[in-house]
């Protein structure tokens, strides 16, 4: 290793980045933007589903029934509709995704002890949201029915309401969620996004940094000099690692203070693992840049090569254990899975070195392998 070469390369690279406003923006704004956009877009909870009601009854019971939906945080009451056409239009336009239709004589039938049909129209385009919304509807309706029975029993048997309740639901379910007690999806998503972005951004920046020189022809300056390949790669990589380290701090701060995620584990594990992970990501970028010649190809391949493992094979969207055996094997080939374990481990589970050292070691190993591969494939005397 020749420190002068590395220093000269890193200095030149940093100057170029700092003086090129577009590149500078790309380097520092894109990760933050991704965190904001994906952070809000990836939230998996279904809340505030826009809804409307066509209440043809107007009796006291129907108003009670409707109010249970209106007051629920899962639904966003947008108003009263009248007529089939109005309902259809509201759904078609997408103003509401759920309409509750209460038929005439609802209250009257219930008071007489008869059953009363209620229609719910749910926009089925977002299957997941539709399914969850229908679950809410069923839960609210079940609760309404239970209250009706309770009322009836209280009145008929003269028992205290508490007693009736005990009799009606003898099994009490006690659920405690671990690590993310409130099941706030932001808590899981925000650190998960750090894993994703810190894979994509360093890889993309590094790949573009090298291929840019290939496109312009300035790469010949190294080819035609005695600068060693390893020095070139390190000198090229270091500025992007530095940028990514700054981005890591920014994203971590965002996870903690914008998304309110807790940080319960070891900061040193997080720091070491993240840094190694950045090297690994940069290594992926270098590897891509060695293989392609145009910036467009480099950007496309790097995006695909980091987004797919980052999203699909990391455990962010689906637990690894729930994947098919082949997918599980593939997941182990990428550092994303291990980094997600580290990130969630330190943010949510409060883990430290004792538990996470194998993951950190694997990320480190991955970085070494990718960088070595890039070094082996990089030539100063090219074939074409």
């Amino acid at each position: 290793m020749n420190l002068r070469h590395i220093r000269a390369l890193a200095l030149k690279e940093s100057r170029e980045i700092l003086r090129d406003r577009i590149y500078l923006a790309l380097a520092f704004l894109v990760p933050v933007l991704m965190m904001v956009v994906l952070g809000h877009g990836l939230v998996l909870e279904v809340r505030h589903v826009p809804m409307a009601v066509w209440n043809q009854d107007k009796g006291p019971l129907s108003r009670d029934f409707v109010d249970r939906f209106r007051l629920s945080e899962y639904f966003d009451y947008r108003g009263e509709l009248t007529g089939d056409q109005a309902v259809e239009q509201a759904l078609k336009r997408g103003d509401v995704r759920f309409v509750l239709i209460v038929p005439p004589h609802f209250s009257e039938r219930l008071s007489r002890g008869l059953t009363a049909p209620v229609q719910t129209l749910i926009d089925g385009q977002f299957t997941y949201h539709a399914r969850v919304a229908s679950g809410y509807v069923q839960a609210i309706t079940a609760r309404f029915n239970q209250d009706r029975i309770q009322d009836w029993l209280v009145r008929r048997e003269g028992l205290p309401p508490q007693r009736v309740q005990q009799q009606l639901s003898p099994v009490k379910l006690e659920v405690r969620y671990l690590y993310n007690q409130a099941l706030k999806s932001e808590w899981s998503i925000a650190p998960g996004l750090i894993m994703l972005i810190m894979l994509m951004a360093p890889a993309l920046l590094t790949a573009l940094g090298v291929v840019r020189e290939k496109e312009s022809g300035s790469i010949f300056n190294f080819y035609a000099s005695n600068v060693r390949r390893v020095d070139f790669l390190i000198g090229k990589l270091l500025p992007y690692v530095a940028i990514s380290a700054i981005n890591l701090l920014v994203l971590t701060a965002m996870a903690l203070w914008v998304y309110g995620a807790p940080f319960k584990g070891s900061a040193s594990v997080y720091a070491v693992a993240s840094l190694l992970y950045i090297f690994a990501a940069g290594g992926i970028g270098l590897l891509v840049s060695v293989l392609v010649r145009s910036q467009a190809a480099a950007a496309l391949i790097t995006m695909l090569g980091t987004m797919i493992p980052g999203f699909m094979f990391s455990g962010l969207m689906m637990p690894i254990s729930a994947m098919s055996p082949e997918a599980q094997r593939e997941a182990h080939l990428f550092p994303a899975m291990h980094d997600l374990e580290v990130v969630w481990g330190v943010f949510l589970k409060g883990q430290g070195w004792d538990f996470l050292w194998p993951q950190v070691a694997l990320i480190g190993l991955y970085a070494v392998v990718v960088l070595t591969l890039a070094w082996v494939l990089f030539h100063k005397r090219v074939k074409r």
Binding site: K12, G217, Y223, A224, N226, K380, R381
Partner: protein, 658 residues
Amino acid sequence: MQRCHLLAGMSDVAAPSAKMASGQTGAMDSQQSAAMIRLQGVVKRYRKTTALRGVDLTVARGQLFGLIGPDGAGKSSLMHIVAGVLAQDAGEVVVNGVAIRDERSAEAVKAQLGLMPQGLGLNLYPTLSVEENLRFFADLHAIPPEVVSQRIEQLLAMTQMSRFRDRRMQHLSGGMKQKLGLMCTLIHEPQLIILDEPTTGVDPISRQAFWELLNQLVRERALTALVSTAYMDEAARFDTLALMHDGLILEQGPPDSLAAGQAATVLWFSAAARDTLRPCLQDFSAMRLRMEAGQLRAWLPQTQREALVQKLDSPPVRETPPTLEDLFMAAVGAPHDLTFDWAPPPPASAPVEIRADGLVRRFGDFTAVDHVSLQVRAGEIFGLLGANGAGKSTLIRMLTGILLPTAGSGEVAGQPLGKAARQVRQRIGYMSQQFSLYPQLSVLENLRLFGRIYGLRRRQLQQRIEWGLDWTGLVTDKNEAAGRLPLGKRQRLALLAAILHEPEVLFLDEPTSGVDPLGRQQFWGLLHTLVRKEGVALLVTTHAMNEAENCHNLALMRQGRVVASGSPRQLRSTVRSRFGEVYALRVDDTARALATLRQRGWLAFAQGREVHVFVAGDDASLGRLKAQLDEAGCVISAIERVEPTMEEVFVSMIEGTA
């Protein structure tokens, strides 16, 4: 004191590496070590094409060696192989005594080698300043820190760039970028520098300065330079040159002996003599005819000269020695009759089709076009000359209505600029600098597409295409994918696509850039017939000065302004009356002669080993010149009056008036 120390230090740095290089191949004989580069049977194949088909080449030490050839001849591949940055598929490559066989052996030559790849300033870092660029290259080559600053000072002083040391490379002019590129190549004081098309896209003045600088370096520092160029007219600048075409070296040797080796002469006739000379090809089958500067130019072996002159009624207008371009034509087996119907300049009564009146275009605080006025009549070929970034393309884009002028006015095909753009567009044709056809579509498909874009009816289009394929000689290629045609044919196709709708005004932006001499000749033939037969007004841009002769009128642009204009003949006579005749001097020490002459106020340029100097007045001033050189200790071996080249015309107009 310090300076002496520095110089001593520098030679110390160079010496051990030279020893090392020769030590590595101990078994070399003395003849081999004399050569800086020796190639034998070098072959380079790419996926679809073969760039080099067995090249043999020897470059002696201390030479300014030229590789001349059109785009795609294999120049870059060859230079990259010599620089050890590209692997050859077969053949022996020995550079500075080291046989380059693999990546490891390539490393051994790199300390003594500087490579400046193709593309003006493209290997430099735009956001870094001049000095930062230089320091970066110094670091790359691990130059001892104590000498870096002094070496940078030296280079800056030599190139007269000291004032610009803090300017960012992206804000330099083309000529300055080229100088900086050269400095970065020289910073580690290599023994061999490899410059790939360093003069492409540089204005004539910077070009002149560049060649002088290079000459000086080669002489003073015993440097070997391998330099490529696409311009045949730069041949005279080299000590030795190799003429490349299609992956082979066709000819190789000193420019003089190559030209003389043809044992031929060139006779010039008026364009009207075409009808009498063409039948002569039957008897004089070795003769080659083509058009240049409005005259018919007949190349023929010296032995047949007398016979031809006797056979003709009228004697030739003048006689010149054959050029390298003649050699090229013969070597590639070009058709012997390349004449065409030369379009005479339009009469003064011809309507003005293009008029620019003080056109200005600014981008931010940068003025790309600065008060340009010109006019082009129907039936006129107007040449716009200048370097990359001189403002030619911006001017054309304003005239075609693509870009709005910041100030000034103009008129194209009778319509004022910026108004009725649609009507105007139907009456103008535009062939842009980039190849704007679809490479995957066939010739025919491209033409049909363009015809329909211009709204031609089916039958009319069919007729136009049939006529056009025949006219451009592309009939046999009509089903070939446009992208697979050779460059010369591709440009003819692009021209055809631009004139399918029979425009009255035609704009051509760098149509012959990179095309070989044969392709150029054919292309200009098409332009002349077009102008003559259809009375088209034609505005063409180029940065090849020798093409200027094919135009009726010229304007030279530099940094957004027109610095000289007129017909080639007018420009020549202006230069003559202002600065005198051009004399070519052969002297023992070109650099000293040049310095002496300039000091005494002569307008002089280096042309390879010759010095060209403008001498005004009578023989007395020539005598004075000789005496002054004598006094300075320069030995003149030959002196001869020559025609000024277009490049000299422009350089003298600008430098002489500045």
